[in-house]
């Protein structure tokens, strides 16, 4: 009865409307910067009870080009045992808004997500014909949700390159059950009531260079449950503590290890003076004996495999490996917690610490040691113990502690830690050829790329360097990496090059670049007024270079290069060039911080960039004195 009633509410809503999807009806301002225009997007989430809901998504999108096709052309819908697709309808309209075709059964293809792994998440993809841009696709998808840990977030504008003509979100709750709402970046024009939000004319925009990472001003309505039920377990999402309690229930009785394993682990740490040493040994043991393999069947998408299974089979996904790690640490009496986190290089700001919600995608381990908390990435076979890279740094993580959840912030690595120190010696011959010897120490986030390289074959390392080094003619004589695994890990890189024509020879002069190995900063092309705030670097970095060039006999430095020292809010830039005893010595230091500056400071930032960039393009002019 209930579902019949449900249908009678929704179906007339669509069939009565007389959509006109003619391209010519789109207002000009919505076409600016847009790859696609959402003509209409109505989303209704109908919570029936604590553990069940229905949703209907109706969307009509006009696709303007190939990029729009990549994003919208073939819509796909996930489903798995907790979320079932009940019905899909779709149609295609041409530029004039005339119906071209309705979706047929054979236009729907069905795939498994991550097909080589064990899991039961699948998706249906709609193969809607068309490419005659502009054209419009319209679809309606109804889903049944069984198990309601997730309430959907409504994002009318999915990405900056999409404009929205009209969108609405309606949330229906049964009596006695409340949802929690958080509105993000809502335009002032948004019409809203207690349970309905309506959006009109949201314009597309172009992201700008040096925007703060992961901070696109897209409107969102976040929705999360209060009381909920998932896989037969009840939970309370009003607080992180409550959500943590729920997850604790899911993880219950999954930490037991066989006695032999416990015995082995105890032996392994027998001579350790402190917890830090134990953590180190156990982590290295985990890295040496297990590997990553994703398993996510049913509730297994949220529940770790029992530690005893991981112990036996020696593989697991982030849940299984992290739970195993926690169990091993507890076996040697080190306190440790399973920690859920939103991972991703640009996802540091994707969670909302003051709005408890279940949108996480990764698990790590937190082991609080006095004054020195360890965070452990358990899916990597080579990461330094206690170091988190850009995948999980500087963001909230929810620790599942006995008795509830606790939100903690993972470490932020800044420009004092993310450093490059490099000493380079160049020996230059009169014909412009040179040999170069350089030793660089990369630390913190700055060692991310080189630490990965260090694990690869020499063949690959060389190939990579031949590709990325911005020098036109060179031969790698030596290239080696040494990883120094510490709490703040570093990598020593040794490089020796032969450069047949480092300097350009023009008559009696030699021209050679001041900046050979440091990162060069690109000055963004600016053709419009700055819209967004500015972040010099996503993490902050310091780059320190000393370059000594021995100049061939009889040559002198001709151009006068006055030292520069800029100390700005964005960072520092210092450079000096000295010529003494047949040797040019260059000192260069660049510090960029990760602070966020208002858009009004863009001109200042640009002038800082120009000073750096001008120097990066400067050439030393050596002239032969006769």
């Amino acid at each position: 009865m209930k579902s019949l009633l449900f249908l009678s509410i929704f179906i007339p809503f669509f069939s009565n409307s007389q959509p006109n999807y003619a391209f010519s009806n789109i207002s000009k301002s919505l076409l600016e910067n847009a790859d696609a225009v959402v003509r209409n997007y109505d989303f209704t989430f109908y919570v029936e009870n604590i553990g069940e809901a229905k949703s209907v998504e109706h969307r009509a999108v006009t696709l303007l080009n190939e990029r729009a096709f990549q994003q919208f052309g073939e819509p796909y819908f996930y489903y798995y045992p907790f979320e079932k697709i009940e019905n899909i309808e779709a149609s295609v309209f041409d530029a004039a808004g005339t119906l071209v075709r309705n979706l047929k059964k054979k236009d729907i293809e069905d795939f498994k997500v991550a097909q080589y792994f064990v899991n039961d998440v699948r998706y249906k993809i709609l193969k809607l014909p068309g490419r005659n841009f502009p054209y419009t696709i319209e679809y309606t998808v109804s889903k049944k949700h069984i198990g309601l840990m997730f309430y959907p977030n409504f994002e009318p504008q999915e990405s900056p390159s999409v404009a929205v003509e009209h969108a609405s979100f309606e949330l229906k709750m049964p009596p006695g059950l409340a949802a929690r709402i958080r509105e993000i970046n809502l335009p002032t024009a948004c019409k809203k009531s207690e349970s309905r939000w309506e959006f009109e004319n949201i314009k597309a925009f172009r992201p700008e260079p040096f925007m703060p990472v992961g901070d696109l001003p897209l409107p969102k309505v976040l929705v999360a449950p209060t009381d909920f039920e998932f896989a037969g377990v009840r939970g309370d999402m009003r607080s992180w503590n409550g959500y943590g309690k729920f997850l604790e229930k899911l993880n219950q009785n999954r930490q037991e290890l066989p006695p032999e394993t416990i015995e082995k682990l105890k032996k392994l740490v027998a001579d350790c003076p402190d917890d830090a040493c134990k953590i180190q040994r156990i982590y290295e043991n985990l890295q040496a004996t297990t590997r990553y393999f994703f398993v996510g069947l049913g509730i297994g998408g949220w529940q770790p495999a029992p530690a005893s299974e991981v112990d036996e089979f020696k593989y697991g996904d982030c849940k299984g490996l992290s739970n195993y790690m926690v169990s091993m640490l507890r076996a040697v009496e080190v306190e440790a917690f399973y920690a859920i986190i939103q991972a991703g290089e640009t996802a540091a700001a994707a969670q909302f610490p003051d709005f408890p919600n279940p949108h996480f995608n990764h698990i790590i381990v937190c082991a609080p040691v006095k004054n020195d908390t360890f965070w452990l990435e358990c899916t990597s076979q080579s990461e330094s113990c206690g170091f988190l890279g850009t995948f999980t740094d500087n963001r909230p993580a929810l620790l599942i502690c006995p008795g509830g959840g606790k939100l903690l912030h993972t470490p932020k690595y800044d420009e004092t830690q993310n450093t490059v120190f490099r000493e380079t010696e160049i020996s230059l011959a009169p014909d412009g050829s040179a040999t170069l010897k350089s030793k660089g120490i990369f630390q913190g986030i700055s060692q991310n790329v080189v630490s990965e390289l260090a694990e690869l074959s020499p063949e690959f390392q060389q190939k990579y360097f031949y590709k990325i080094l911005n020098v036109n003619d060179f031969e790698i004589k030596t290239l080696s990496f040494k990883r120094i695994k510490k709490r703040l890990p570093s990598v020593e890189q040794n490089l020796e090059l032969a450069l047949p024509r480092l300097a350009t020879v023009s008559g009696k002069r030699l021209f050679l670049p001041v900046n050979l190995l440091s990162e060069k900063l690109e000055i963004p092309v600016v053709d419009t007024v700055r819209r967004f705030s500015i972040q010099p670097d996503s993490r902050g970095l310091t780059e320190n270079d000393v370059v000594k060039i021995s100049v061939p006999a009889g040559f002198q430095l001709e151009n006068q290069l006055e030292p520069t020292a800029v100390d700005s809010d964005f960072g520092q830039f210092e450079i000096s060039v000295k010529f003494e005893n047949g040797q040019v010595e260059i000192h260069r230091k660049l510090i960029l911080n990760s602070k966020i500056f208002p858009k009004e400071r863009f001109a200042d930032w640009l002038s800082f960039l120009k000073i750096v960039s001008k120097w990066d393009k400067t050439k030393l002019v050596l002239v032969k004195k006769t």
Binding site: R101, Q462, N559, T618
Partner: protein, 685 residues
């Protein structure tokens, strides 16, 4: 602890000799050695995502009474998978003819976990048949259960009692090393063939021999009391035997500027030249086979082209069902062939999407194509011919192999050798021109780069098949002409005229469509505009796809090109124009280099010297060339008291360079990039 690991080591050693001294592969289907299970990586290439443990092929032509000689090809392979990148190895494709039988097909994935082996076998759901033409089929097998650390194994036999064949054997794989690859064949001498081997692989065994053997044939007895009975006689005949093994064959690793790496795989190819009729003649007390007249065997590209024309294309080109109205709408009011061709070309180009896939056959019916509006280049081009013919324009299919698909090798004839059909259109004047509708919005006459690969096979009719060169009528050129006034502070301003024709024009238009002309200029002259601005932008032909060129004029003001130090001004005249990044940096090269389509760049830059300065030093004029002017650079610099003029002409005619000339090529490009960095020095008088 220590003892047990010693035991394991000893056990492994004991298991090692899977390959015995006699160069013989001892293996039975399903009998996986402990060494193979334990293997974590391949020692000669530890980063390899998989290793072919063995791949063995055997060809026989045995005589079967009542059937005659029966061709049999048996293949058995086993592969260890280390990493996800190699999961594709579990997709096995068997190319065969429709009348051939695939016997004894077996395919298994073995998973090992906790000392236990799980076998996952294929079911009928894992086998698909693709019919490329009426006779050429593909059997596709997807072995299920693949994961890191597993072993896959497959085996099949192709049997043909009608036509004899000697399949080619490829010893090497792209991206995956091979421990053992073996090919054995026994061919009766009434089949005459040529054998060619290529590639870097070393043979650890290459034996060729001949032997005599007997067949037994039933003959109706000639008269006598037992007339009507059957009598068996032994007939002696000669067989040529071949046995080749390559061991530890490295993975073929693709390099840049190699559009078709598979052209370079280590392989043996057989080209059957003639097949003799045989007769049984008495030989002393017994009989032997004797060759009599012969039939030349012509498995040629031309023959294959005719087969495709007859089997596949004819119907599609003739079919009257789908495009009649579209054609009528398209050509309404158009009279000349050129107008009609342009209208239909635009109609298909704008309404259909071209898939990034190439097959020489139709991937769908024209009916489905005209509904879904999405097809391969071949699908679209056949539709194009269909529509042209309805508009009374003569048009024919041209079969080719795209650059990515590789060269058409005379002895490696196979249906996958071709990859695309394009169109030869009869224009109003005499010569037909080549068009590929999948390349829209290229102007007509500009084939996409992937089509420019040697010669294509023009199929006018089954009687009239000819090779034609695949070349572009429209040449690709970049030109910049500019005059700047320099000031003593290092700033300069002036007028720039920039034009692109051919491929550059098409890409300029598509970039322009994404943003605007201003952004296009900002991207092209990035280094100048890093500290400068452009004004008074005028464009020509940026909207019209039919025009071969685009032109942009603008005023430029910049301080990025010059720096002032004391009494000197140092000026970078090229500042980001021309080639600044040498595409060839790696020290060694394995494969020949395909530089792509012809291109020409011209830069004429005038710098007016500020009053009170003179040119102290200007770059030296130079002429450089590579390979009989295949590549050339003319750099010309001249100074008068008033101005410095730099003229640069960089031409590439036909870019195919043999790997042994790599060092010279690398130096040539290093020379060009160095030349682009050269500076002008002005001094205060």
């Amino acid at each position: 602890m220590k003892n047990s690991s010693c035991l394991v080591a000893a056990f492994l050693l004991f298991c090692l000799p899977v390959f015995s001294q006699k160069k013989e592969l001892k293996t039975k289907f399903g009998k996986i050695s402990d060494e193979e299970i334990a293997m974590q990586s391949y020692q000669n290439d530890p980063a390899a995502p998989a290793v072919v443990l063995f791949d063995k092929g055997e060809v026989t032509h045995d005589f079967v009474d009542n059937l005659g000689f029966v061709f049999k090809f048996e293949r058995h392979a086993r592969i260890k998978i280390f990493k996800k990148e190699a999961y594709d190895m579990a997709n096995v494709v068997i190319a065969h003819f429709s009348w051939q039988k695939i016997n004894d097909l077996k395919a298994v994935c073995y998973q090992f976990e906790g000392g236990k082996t799980t076998e996952i076998k294929i079911s009928n759901d894992n086998i698909f048949t693709d019919k490329l033409t009426k006779s050429r089929w593909l059997k596709k097998i997807t072995i299920p259960g693949v994961r890191e650390g597993c072993i896959i194994e497959f085996k099949y036999t192709i049997v043909d009692d009608d036509i004899i064949d000697i399949p080619n054997w490829i010893f090497q794989k792209i991206g995956v090393p091979t421990i053992w690859s073996e090919f054995e064949a026994a061919v009766p001498t009434f089949i005459q063939f040529q054998k060619m081997s290529q590639g870097e692989g070393q043979f650890s065994l290459a034996e060729e021999d001949s032997k005599r053997q007997n067949l037994s044939i039933s003959m109706a007895s000639r008269g006598g009391p037992s007339a009507g009975g059957v009598q068996y006689v032994k007939v002696n005949y000669e067989v040529k035997t071949m046995h080749f093994i390559q061991e530890n064959v490295p993975a073929l690793k693709p390099e840049s500027f190699v559009p078709a790496p598979k052209d370079f795989l280590a392989q043996i190819n057989f080209d059957i030249r003639a097949v003799y009729r045989t007769e049984i003649v008495p030989d002393g007390d017994t009989y032997r086979l004797s060759n009599t007249t012969f039939k030349t065997y012509n498995n040629s590209w031309e023959k294959l082209g005719k087969e495709l024309l007859e089997d596949v294309y004819e119907d599609a080109m003739k079919s009257g069902k789908y495009s009649k109205d579209a054609v009528a709408n398209c050509i309404a009011g158009k009279t000349t062939n050129a107008e009609k061709v342009a209208a239909i070309y635009e109609n298909i180009g704008q309404n259909f999407q071209s898939k990034n896939l190439d097959f020489p056959w139709l991937s769908q019916s024209l009916e489905t194509l005209s509904k879904d509006r999405k097809g391969t280049a071949t699908d679209l081009n056949l539709l194009f011919i269909n529509m042209l013919r309805k508009a009374d324009v003569n048009a024919w299919p041209v079969l080719l192999s795209t650059r990515e698909n590789g060269k058409l090798h005379p002895t490696r004839v196979s249906v996958e050798g071709f990859s695309r059909v394009i169109v030869a259109v009869q224009m109003d004047d005499a010569a037909p021109i080549l068009v590929d509708v999948s390349a829209f919005p290229n102007p007509i006459g500009l084939l996409p780069k992937e089509d420019l690969n040697g010669e294509g096979l023009l199929l006018k009719s089954e009687e009239l098949v000819e090779w034609i060169p695949l070349q572009n009528k429209i040449s690709s050129r970049t030109a910049v002409l500019a005059t700047f006034n320099l000031n003593p502070e290092g700033g300069m301003n002036g007028n720039v005229s920039y034009s692109e024709s051919g491929f550059g024009a098409v890409s300029s238009r598509s970039k322009m469509k994404e943003k605007d002309a201003q952004s296009l200029v900002q991207e092209t002259f990035k280094d100048w505009l890093a500290d400068g601005k452009c004004t008074d932008l005028k464009t020509e032909n940026l909207e019209n796809w039919q025009m071969p060129n685009v032109k942009i004029d603008f005023n430029l003001e910049t301080t990025a090109a010059a720096t002032v130090s004391g009494s000197k001004i140092y000026l970078s005249p090229m500042l980001g124009l021309g080639l600044h990044d040498n595409p060839f940096k790696e020290p060694t090269r394995h494969f020949n280099i395909d530089l792509g389509a012809p291109h020409e760049e011209t830069y004429i830059l005038n710098f007016v010297i500020p009053v009170g300065f003179r040119a102290e030093e200007i770059p030296k004029s130079a002429k450089m060339s590579f390979g009989e002017n295949m590549l050339s650079l003319d750099y010309f610099a001249e100074a008068t008291p008033e101005k410095v003029k730099i003229t640069v002409r960089n031409k590439m005619k036909n870019g195919y360079v043999i790997f042994s000339e790599y060092e010279d090529l690398k130096l040539f490009f290093a020379g060009i990039t160095a030349k682009m960095e050269e500076q002008i020095v002005l001094t205060k008088i």
